[in-house]
Amino acid sequence: MSLLLILEQGLNGLQFGVMLFLMAAGLTLVFGIMNLVNLAHGSLYMVGAYLAATVFAWTGSWALAVALALVGTLVAGVVVELIALRTLYERDHLDQVLATFGLILFFNELVAILWGRAALYTSVPAALAGYVELLPRLRYPTYRAAVILVGLAVALLLYVVVARTRLGMLIRAGASNRTMVAALGVNIRLLSTLVFGGGAALAGLAGLMAGPIYAVQPGMGEQILIQVFVVIVIGGIGSIRGALVGAILVGMVDTLGRAFLRPVLSTLIAPTAADAAGPALASILIYVLMAAVLFFRPQGLFPARG
């Protein structure tokens, strides 16, 4: 187990983490500000992946695919918010779960009708194919390195927007006390729509970046959404900072667990027992982490003040 290997696995964990962060950021804001549990966030991720894959296949231009996918998911998010979710803010969380679960079924079927059930073909854009030499003897796929950079840049941008701008101030205020912000004359409905659209675009960004690595197919959003919920619970609901820390923690724990848990276990217990326990334990490691966080800090690591 060389140092370079651990470093490379760390990068893999970071890459998975920033992907989770892009999803978690939008979801946690929506939950924090609008008090809405949105299970259909994964559907917006799927829409982003499909739009990017389709535009890239038609035009061959990755830039155009990225732009259209971002705008497309933003519009989709706003439309969903205006039509379906707006009426749900005052309702019970269980009603919201039911309604947004319905949206998942709707989007999966819609995608299956429009594009078919078979997975779409996508590939890495030519400029990002191949690998970069980060250190001597440490080669890393260029595309995954780019995902890390984009993810971290978005995290920085979100931090600046939320912590340093007037819009961010309103978002933070909305997360603390929605009624009070409305009473002060802020159009909280417009703010909600904006935040929801922004969150949708972030999910779309995660989706379009996931396309070339994962299978673009109906139901792809739910596979990642489960992990995103774990991230939010760990990070604390409504907190961007919590989402970032939680996402990178989950990405690291999951990746390092899959890579190193079995070899480490086999030095402690009999190798045959480690062979059986290793993979099983690695796949539940993030849930164990979530349970531990819930036990010691039920409000998550960085709860939004409220």
């Binding site: 290997l5 696995q9 299956a112 078979a118 590939s123 899959r258 890579a259």
Partner: protein, 391 residues
């Protein structure tokens, strides 16, 4: 008013009786597969093939009318079991067929065969059902899980390959596949890795492969897992470094989504669209014409499943109560299979050929799998001696 009511009720009764009389003349087939979620595309291949088989039979099975009841197991064993219960109790089906996943099959097959209803598997072949849990009422038109990787193990041994890194998802079939591979592979296995069923990201595993520096890599990643693994393997630049050998990973379902990432990949299989026999040519060309895409082995097995049921019902002249007669008929495998003629082993698993396939790019730029050679002729599974059935 009262009289009309009475007349209506009487009429209703008559219709009920009539419809029941009619239903006695109908073969009811419950078909369980995954129709939603990421595996939904496999279910579509199977369902389309069943519909094509019914069309080829003029929508009669064994000369009787047929009623199909499709069920979506969502890749979950508990859902599969519920569907089977419903099909048995509510629909009173004569046959249950389909099933992609071994863990679902292990939950469903005992429920069905216990009721003395036929379970005609058209994909999953867990070793338990080939061995001590074999049943008179269970038949499969596919294979026992171990058989296909056994063929790959044999081929790789013949190529004098050693230092192989193997990966599979951590569930019933994954374990069977690796066990089958190791039964015939005589070289050294560097590492044996099991990943979560349905995992999306394989970067951690791929980094470990590169660090281990094997001579070759062998995987079993069906459906969407295959798309993800093969893409990420190629993107990490490993395809040029380590040749990839696989089973049920690159096929007609996943190839359109991975294309050049799978180029040069080797698979073993009992069937391929380019397998030359009359039934297969008809199946493949009519399937392409009707549905506009290339069928897969999942589909061929499901097509064969309906044809096997048709042969059974035909042999007993439509007497669905004659189960002994249908068992005897199915044991003869007396129908035109898409794989060509085959026979049944004592455990009702096929004795069949296995071929080596390679992913190639045709002159028109289309990607396809082509048969290279026959690895096994009339290959039996490794568990039939544990099956107590004698015939």
């Amino acid at each position: 008013m009262r009289r009309t009511t009475r007349a209506l009720v009487a009429g209703l009764f008559a219709m009920l009786v009539a419809s029941q009389a009619a239903s006695a003349e109908t073969v009811k087939i419950g078909f369980i597969t995954s129709l939603s979620g990421p595996a939904g595309v496999i279910g579509k291949h199977m369902q389309d093939s069943v519909e094509l088989a019914l069309e080829h039979l003029g929508r009669k099975v064994g000369g009787l009318d047929v009623e199909m009841i499709y069920g979506d197991d969502q890749r979950k064993p508990d859902v599969g079991k519920q569907l089977a219960d419903e099909m048995l109790k509510k629909h009173k089906v004569h046959f249950v067929s389909g099933i992609i996943w071994s863990n679902v099959m292990l939950a469903v097959a005992p429920v069905v065969t216990r009721e003395k209803v036929f379970m005609i598997g058209t994909n999953a072949g867990p070793h338990e059902l080939a061995g001590d849990q074999c049943s008179e009422y269970f038949f499969t038109t596919s294979w026992q899980n171990d058989q296909t990787p056994e063929a790959m193990g044999k081929y790789m041994t013949d190529q004098n390959l050693t230092d192989v890194y193997v990966l599979a998802p951590n569930y019933a079939a994954g374990k069977d596949m690796i066990q089958g591979f190791k039964r015939y592979f005589k070289g050294k296995v560097v590492n044996e890795v099991y990943t979560k069923l349905g995992q999306q990201d394989y970067s951690a595993e791929i980094t470990q492969i590169r660090a281990a520096n094997p001579k070759a890599v062998f995987v079993f990643y069906p459906g969407d897992m295959g798309i993800q693994f093969v893409k990420q393997f190629a993107q990490a630049g490993l395809r040029d470094q380590f040749p990839l050998y696989s089973v049920y990973t690159v096929d007609e379902v996943t190839l359109p989504a991975v294309k050049e990432a799978a180029l040069g990949n080797f698979e073993t299989r009992y069937w391929s669209p380019d397998l030359s026999n009359e039934a297969n040519r008809r199946y493949v060309s009519d399937f392409r014409k009707k549905f506009g895409y290339t069928p897969s082995f999942y589909g061929a097995q499901s097509y064969d499943g309906i044809m096997l049921i048709d042969a059974a019902v035909r042999a007993v002249k439509g007497d669905l109560a004659n189960k002994a007669g249908m068992i005897a008929a199915m044991r003869r495998a007396d129908y035109k299979s898409t794989r060509g003629p085959y026979t049944y082993n004592v455990n009702h698993f096929p004795i069949e050929n296995f071929y080596l396939l390679k992913t190639v790019r045709a002159a028109d730029g289309e990607f396809s799998l082509q048969i290279q050679k026959t690895v096994f002729e009339n290959h039996r599974d490794a568990y039939y001696q544990k099956c107590p059935m004698k015939w």
